[in-house]
């Protein structure tokens, strides 16, 4: 509900209860309280002598939507420390393709603070338009401000498709925006195409652990919203384009958000983002125990690699969640990927199949990972890995001399 009673202001006079036609407001302990029967007519707001009832009209209830009014593809920018997340450029690549099929415009929407000098550069990634909402507080991510601003923009501009990075940030605001505008939202899409006749976005995503792919559509409402994980799509080749820039200043301040960012701290362990790692060693169920997982770490150490895990390894608490490779974790594309004790469920494969060289070490010669691996070793990883470590160290020493 978007109607609220300010409990500090309410004097308990009861005028609102008398005016309400729907038993939508009642007195509880001498304070007005909105009930489920409220239909947001606003009668009580007007009658309250102390302005204690607040009706937020920004939330539109959309019924029997005329979807033909909606045109254009949007990509929402995510940024940190004044740097745009790579996924945004990847989404612009896909967005360009979709916009061309639809013969519609592609817009990049940025909620930020200090991007005035970067707009020229951003305009080379395929967008026809950049909508830049500028406010100093938007240098950081505020859930509620993003939701409010994006909702207002969507209602004003009516885009038919909105693409968002499936990062912790995108996955935070996207569902809430979707709910507020009553739009369908599909998470973690790995394929996006258009059915031109209906202009429906066909959104393909792995589900049930990645063993099946579901294609989802949202036929009766707009916008059609989709999140996509980093690394799935490719940016287009940079080129000079004529881009319409729409910059709007917003005078948000700290009071406009219910949340306060106390500070941003580094996570305890300093590690390279898996998505950026050149070499990744991952362990799965076959590693056997948390103790054995140290072997994976040792191998990673001597290759200067990052450690990752399959979903099972994360579920068993052998490795942290943010080191998970796969459909529900990270999508990685390192130069070398060594999968140890990983059978190769699709859930995992979708996250690492873009690796240049894949090595699999597994006891089970029938493990599906061997069908993907460039080099497979069928054997006990507890014997193979120490041997591999020994060999690599030897090569390293030889080179140093």
């Amino acid at each position: 509900m978007s109607i609220k009673v300010d409990r500090d202001l309410c004097t308990g006079c009861g005028s609102c209860v008398n005016i309400c036609l729907y038993s939508g407001i009642e007195m509880i302990d001498d304070i007005a309280q909105i009930t489920d029967d409220c239909n947001l007519c606003g009668a009580c707001v007007d009658v309250c002598p102390v302005e204690a009832i607040i009706l937020e009209r920004e939330k539109l209830k959309i019924e029997k939507m005329d979807i033909t009014q909606y045109r254009g593809v949007w990509v929402i920018a995510e940024h940190f420390k004044n740097k745009i997340h790579n996924v945004v450029f990847q989404l612009l690549g896909k967005g360009r393709e979709l916009a061309d099929i639809l013969e519609a415009n592609l817009s990049l929407v940025i909620l930020g603070a200090n991007f005035d000098n970067n707009l020229e550069e951003f305009s080379q990634y395929g967008a026809d338009e950049i909508i830049y909402i500028k406010s100093s507080i938007l240098k950081d991510y505020y859930s509620d401000l993003y939701v409010k601003t994006l909702t207002e923009l969507i209602i004003e501009h009516k885009p038919e498709i909105i693409l968002i990075g499936a990062t912790p940030t995108g996955r935070d605001f996207a569902p809430r925006v979707a709910k507020r505008v009553n739009a369908g939202l599909t998470a973690d899409c790995t394929g996006l195409t258009i059915d031109l006749e209906s202009r429906n976005l066909l959104q393909t995503r792995p589900t049930f652990g990645g063993n099946i792919m579901a294609t989802i559509k949202t036929p009766s409402s707009r916008p059609q919203m989709a999140t996509v994980r980093p690394g799935i799509f490719k940016p287009i080749k940079k080129s000079k384009r004529k881009v319409k820039i729409k910059k709007i200043d917003y005078d948000y301040n700290q009071k406009d958000s219910v949340s306060k960012i106390v500070k941003i701290i580094n996570r305890e362990k300093k590690k390279i983002n898996l998505e950026e790692a050149e070499i990744i060693i991952t362990g799965g169920r076959g590693v056997g125990s948390k103790e054995n997982f140290k072997l994976i770490e040792q191998l990673a150490d001597c290759l200067n690699a990052e450690v990752g895990g399959s979903r099972v390894a994360v579920e068993l608490n052998w490795i942290e969640q943010d080191r998970q490779v796969g459909q529900t974790g990270k999508t990685v594309s390192p130069k070398l990927y060594i999968a140890c004790g990983i059978s190769g469920a699709i859930q995992h494969i979708v996250g690492m199949q873009g690796s240049e060289i894949i090595v699999a070490i597994n006891k089970d010669s029938k493990a599906p990972i061997f069908k993907l691996a460039h080099y497979g070793i069928v054997g006990d990883l507890q014997k193979v890995i120490p041997e591999l470590i020994k060999k690599i160290k030897k090569i390293r020493t030889e080179r140093e001399i």
Binding site: R171, V262, Q321
Partner: protein, 268 residues
């Protein structure tokens, strides 16, 4: 204070198999469990209760057999358990699911005393659908702030202070007012095991409260399939791809062979 914990019954393994003949999901023989992150949500609720005092209400939407996961939640120490079950709820996408859950929470919130606060805790995502969307959508329905991907949580008076993981290397510390909805990561805690007497009580003495569409006064257009904006249009089984060389010989030979290949590929 009231703490609502939303839990989901999911297949016990993350990889559900496909029957190649019928092209349908094989769910037989796979035990149903509480979604792992939801156990972290229950654990957090229990620890808040221990520190600050609270009544913990567990909610689950699903078929009648989802009662199992609510029994487990009771065994862990949850005070009350509600199962939202009705054929009319079937086919719900996250929009319809969050709406249904919000109706139940709003119904129970009527018990709230003056100035009493509440928290809603969800797991950050379920291992079957993996969308992580129900939490934020539920927060929107309830019109309360949300903080997702929480790995550390504390209450100070009417405020909560949490660590939210938002990048690989950075964590943001956020402060917000109660009421609030948070979704938790597995890092936040280690869920406790139910005690023996907890289990016995959960099955023999405790009651599961059932809520259907009628009791929730649900608008049929907002629940189940009718309330869902997204539709599954097609289901397919992905193809695998890739070339492969299986190395042979003793472990030493295989490792030697691998290293030579990797050198050729200019990796080593």
């Amino acid at each position: 204070m009231k703490i609502f914990v939303c839990i989901k019954q999911v297949p016990g393994v993350s990889e559900v198999k496909i029957d190649p003949k019928t092209n349908t999901l094989v769910r037989e023989g796979i035990p149903s469990i509480i979604n792992p992150h939801d156990k972290n949500a229950i654990e957090l609720a229990l620890s808040i209760k221990e520190e600050h005092g609270a009544e913990i209400v567990a909610l689950s939407m699903g078929p009648p057999q989802a009662e199992e996961v609510l029994r487990e939640a009771l065994a862990m120490g949850v005070d009350r358990a509600f199962l939202l079950t009705d054929k009319a709820f079937a086919g719900a996408d996250t929009l319809a699911t969050s709406h249904t859950l919000s109706l139940a929470i709003k119904k129970i919130l009527k018990e709230l005393k003056k100035d009493e606060k509440y928290i809603v805790i969800c797991g950050s995502q379920a291992i079957d659908g993996d969308t992580g969307q129900v939490g934020p959508e539920l927060a929107e329905e309830l019109d309360i702030p949300q903080i997702t991907y929480v790995q550390k949580f504390q209450i100070k008076g009417d405020k909560v202070i949490v660590d939210r993981v938002f990048r690989t290397e950075e964590v943001v510390v956020i402060e917000t007012d109660l009421p609030v909805l948070i979704s938790v990561l597995s890092e936040i805690n280690t869920p406790r095991y139910p005690t023996m007497s907890g289990i016995v009580d959960a099955y023999q003495k405790r009651e599961i409260h059932y809520l259907d569409a009628e009791r929730l006064k649900a608008d049929k257009a907002k629940i189940g399939l009718d309330g869902s904006m997204t539709q599954v249009w097609k289901i397919s089984i992905p193809e695998r791809k890739g070339e492969h060389i299986i190395l042979t010989g003793t472990i030493e030979e295989m490792v030697q062979n691998l290293c030579e290949n990797l050198k050729e590929d200019k990796i080593l």
